[in-house]
């Protein structure tokens, strides 16, 4: 094992070499070396992102040092960007860190294409105006740049993910086993028939793989029920009873495994509705030479399903089966039957991929066979997330949804309203509520901002109690390291999921209430 594999062993077990490569090609911009900003970068530098750049015009103060681990007392008075890049850079010799001691707006005025060099932008401690500007530049960039905006206020934290579209193949579902008892393919049926339940000795009988047991009893059931599988609860119980009656000793483990899988196996194998929605997505229907591999592959798999319309129109087989009580030979044979069928499906899909590529004027074979294989394997779990833009969030609020979120008892969503109102407070006063020693004087102003916001959505203004507004003023925008670290962890998990295109990132706003230790995600 090489040194890098050793160092990254614990994370490679999550996202593999593909995910790692994606991280190592990423260049991340951090706007503002705040406590939470540096915590986010720490969690990305450690697992080995390629490069990062910190942009921050300010110099280091005492309170920075008190709440930010990556600014030390030697940093006092020096550039925050420079010192943070230096101390974060020490965490991993494979990562290259850069810094720009400028205000982000100034940098964008100087060079309007400044953001284009980054694969991801993370901002902390910025005003709504700056967020809107950065967000719109990222959204409209030729290659849309994911933008993550994180806030911490006292014991509260929020994170917002903004990008037009995110597609995931490797969603890492808990279980990709796909055994298709209801619709066995010919090789599988023949395999099941190869077991003679009457002539086997005790050892053999106790090791008939449960898939063969289920298939036998399911076939018998179908013959007696016009080819239909059990549908009702009573029917499923009857199938279980049939299987139980076939036991010899009463505690044959393999029969128990078969009985335990009845409910799942009686779920008809179909194309899940979420995948059908992907197939009928305009991006799948209308491909262009610029279409991403995801959509080209989705189209090929859709064509695969349609081509097999007569035989049920199923997705490519995953080729994965669970472990089960069985002799080595019969298990390995069963496994290879599924694997062979999965390979055949992949070959068919590959041909369709080439047809699609050709129709787009692209070179056949230009999508790697491993990529096609992975896509087929996870085709039942594909995911497309379309995020709302910040502009839509502000100009077309989902008032009905918001009213319903706020109507829940102790709604975490109240904090969203309070932080939005704090932005309005900033517009009015040029500072955030509760920052000065006369903090309680801000409560009425802020509460008026809350009311205005709620009224603009047509929502009753007393859904948010003044005590909560008072609490925001108490926080006074103070940086609490624990909250910065918590939000740094959450945001960096999301960034890793976005960069690796593995696991499923949140859509689109995460809110943490550190006073009650509760959180929720809202698609605002």
């Amino acid at each position: 094992m090489d040194a890098k594999t050793q160092k990254y062993d614990r994370q490679l077990r999550l996202w593999g070499s593909g995910g790692q490569q994606a991280l190592e090609s990423a260049h991340i911009l951090l706007i503002n070396a705040s406590a939470v900003g540096c915590e986010i970068l720490k969690n990305l530098v450690l697992p080995g992102i390629g490069q990062f750049t910190v942009i921050d015009q300010r110099t280091v103060t005492q309170s920075d040092i008190g709440s930010n681990f990556f600014l030390d007392s030697d940093s006092l008075g020096k550039s925050r960007a420079e010192r943070a890049a230096e101390l974060l850079g020490e965490l991993n010799e494979d990562v290259s860190g850069h810094w720009v001691a400028k205000d982000i707006l100034f940098a964008l005025t100087e060079d309007p294409s400044f953001l284009s060099q980054f694969s991801m932008v993370i901002a902390t401690d910025i005003t709504r105006q700056i967020a809107e500007k950065v967000s719109s530049l990222c959204w409209t960039n030729q290659y849309a740049i994911p933008f993550v905006w994180v806030k911490t206020v006292g014991l509260l934290g929020t994170a917002r993910v903004i990008l037009p579209e995110h597609v995931i193949v490797e969603t890492h579902p808990d279980n990709v086993a796909d055994i298709r008892i209801d619709t066995p393919f010919p090789e599988l049926s023949n395999y099941a028939k190869s077991f003679d339940f009457n002539t086997q000795d005790t050892l053999e009988f106790g090791h008939i793989p449960y898939v063969a047991i289920l298939l036998k009893y399911m076939e018998e059931w179908k013959q007696e029920h016009d080819g239909k599988i059990p549908g009702t609860y009573a029917e499923k119980n009857q199938l279980k009873a049939n299987i139980r009656s076939g036991m010899r000793s009463g505690d044959d483990e393999n029969f128990d495994e078969a009985i335990n899988s009845v409910l799942r196996s009686c779920q008809p194998t179909v194309v899940p509705s979420a995948i059908k929605a992907i197939f009928s997505d305009p991006k799948c229907e209308t491909l262009t030479p610029e279409s991403s591999n995801f959509w080209i592959l989705a189209r090929a798999v859709r064509d695969f399903v349609n081509d097999h319309g007569k035989s049920g129109g199923l997705l490519p087989l995953s080729g994965t089966i669970p472990d089960m009580k069985a002799q080595t030979d019969s298990y390995v044979t069963l496994q290879s039957i599924y694997k062979t069928k999965a390979k055949q499906d992949v070959q068919e899909v590959s041909k369709l991929v080439d047809t699609v590529l050709e129709s787009l004027g692209l070179a056949p074979g230009s999508i790697a066979s491993e990529e096609i294989e992975t896509f087929c394997k996870y085709s039942a779990f594909l995911k497309v997330i379309r995020y709302r833009s910040l502009e839509d969030e502000y100009t077309q609020p989902k008032t009905k949804q918001i009213a319903s979120w706020l109507s829940e008892e102790d709604s975490v969503f109240a904090h969203y309203v309070l932080l939005r109102a704090s932005d309005s407070f900033f517009d009015d006063h040029g500072r955030y509520p509760g920052e000065s020693n006369d903090w309680e004087e801000d409560v009425d102003h802020l509460h008026a901002n809350v009311a205005t916001l709620l009224q603009s959505w047509g929502i009753d203004t007393d859904v948010i109690s003044k005590d909560l507004t008072h609490e925001i003023c108490r926080f006074g925008r103070g940086a609490i390291h624990n909250i910065a670290s918590f939000m740094g962890g959450v945001a960096s998990q999301e960034v890793i999921k976005l960069i690796t295109h593995q696991y499923i990132p949140m859509d689109n706003t995460f809110i943490f209430d550190g006073a009650r230790s509760v959180s929720a995600v809202f698609a605002v």
Binding site: R10, I480, S485, G488, Q493, A515
Partner: protein
């Protein structure tokens, strides 16, 4: 007159001090007072573990205003720690974690003293643990958590409020984790929730020996059966790449013989060392939750978690906060004995195997006694040999239905009282 130190502290801890200086209408019982700030600067906090969670916890406490922090860890630094244990560098590989982590924090954060203890938690006695205001655990071992929990619960004396040592426990796996607050004798304790742990992944010996199907079966064959055959008394060192390489090659040969695919070096290492995937991001989330609770408990600036929060980042972000209930017959925090129905014609060995597997018990090497009379003892060797025949006897020959068994295990600092009723 305000002295320079106060100005610096007020500036430095501006965020935390806002919380501590200002009253709240959400938490009306909180009364701001200078003593609270003094308390967090002077109280002693103990951190168990200086690994992925431990590094984060130490940093968080130091930046929350806690100034007297102790840390216990018996491990040394491995290269595979460097992707998340950010207080360590490549040059530190091989050094004690506790010492290295403490030195780093002491250098980085002025005015904070972290005292390292390079030892096992079992090496310290109750006098040591009683010095601390609260304990935060960042461990990856169930055994160590059970020990720490039982020790702190055992130290509680209802007549002495100072004997109550809040225990905050965190754990992570991949993108998931959990944080909880244990107030010994008040909330549920670690032992109360043993049944929430997923069953340890073991494979039946007969599968490993006779009917391997998975690459893991081949690896366990090399690990459990073939190693002692070939190496005799020599103990395997799972940190030695040579030993892992031998296991890998042996497992691979067996897999080839049986046509089983998927044995890799990495999987071999994962199976024999029971490796849990770990990343900095999740450790940050869980450690921060733990320290957020520590700050709330130490200052009362907001209500503390009551008492469990689960976090999952695999699919979106999901947290679940709930009150885990005490177990009426918890062997650690309750005085009543556990009740168990068991067939009287089963043997003592069968009872022992059952208790080893039972998720809320999970014994390793239990010894049994009834009414002060031993039934089976794991040590010393002569006694074990003398009593071994009892293992094969039916329970009804050894004691009567309704008797209370006392079960001890060297891995646990408490004994289990079980009333067995024959069915």
């Amino acid at each position: 007159m305000v002295d320079a130190q106060t100005i610096t502290d007020n500036e430095r801890w501006a965020g935390v001090y806002k919380l501590l200086d200002r009253h709240s209408l959400i938490h009306p019982e909180f009364e701001p007072q200078e003593e609270i700030k003094e308390f967090i600067q002077t109280c002693k906090i103990l951190v168990i573990g200086a690994g992925g969670l431990g590094c984060e916890i130490l940093k968080n406490l130091a930046l929350s205003g806690f100034c007297d922090i102790h840390v216990i860890d018996m491990d040394t630094i491995d290269v595979s720690n460097l992707n998340r244990q950010f207080l360590f560098r490549r040059a530190d590989v091989g050094k004690p974690k506790a010492v290295t982590a403490a030195a780093f924090i002491n250098k980085r954060v002025q005015g904070v003293t972290v005292t390292p203890h390079y030892c096992k938690i079992q090496d310290k006695d109750e006098d040591f643990y009683s010095e601390f205001a609260l304990v935060i655990c960042g461990l990856d071992s169930i055994e160590a958590r059970r020990w720490m929990n039982a020790t702190l619960v055992g130290m509680r004396d209802e007549d002495n409020p100072d004997s109550l040592k809040p225990l905050i426990d965190g754990g992570t796996e991949g993108f998931k984790g959990q944080a909880r607050v244990i107030l010994p004798g008040i909330t549920s304790c670690y032992e109360c929730s043993m049944d929430m742990l997923s069953k340890p992944t073991g494979f039946p010996l007969c599968t490993i020996a006779n009917t391997p199907r998975l690459p893991e079966h081949c690896i366990e064959w090399a690990h459990i059966l073939e190693w002692p055959n070939v190496h005799g008394e020599r103990k395997m060192d799972t940190d030695d790449p040579k030993d892992i390489q031998w296991l890998y090659e042996t497992a691979l040969a067996r897999a080839r013989q049986y046509n089983i695919q998927g044995v890799t070096y990495s999987l071999t290492q994962g199976v024999v060392k029971n490796i849990i995937p770990a990343i900095a991001a999740t450790n940050a989330i869980i450690a921060a939750s733990c320290c957020n609770e520590a700050l709330k408990i130490a200052t009362t600036c907001a209500k503390n978690l009551n008492n469990y929060m689960m976090y999952s980042g695999n699919d979106s972000v999901y947290t679940y906060t709930f009150e885990h209930q005490r177990k009426d017959d918890c062997p650690v925090c309750s005085t009543s004995a556990t009740k168990l129905d068991f067939k009287g014609d089963k043997t003592l060995e069968e009872l022992m195997d059952y208790l080893k597997e039972k998720p809320d018990v999970q014994l390793k090497k239990p010894s049994f006694a009834v009414g002060g009379k031993p039934l089976y003892m794991q040590a010393p060797k002569q006694l074990e040999e003398a009593m071994r025949p009892n293992l094969q006897k039916p329970l009804s020959e050894l004691f009567s239905s309704g008797d209370e068994l006392t079960i001890t295990d060297s891995t646990l600092p408490f004994s289990l009282q079980v009333i067995v009723t024959f069915i």
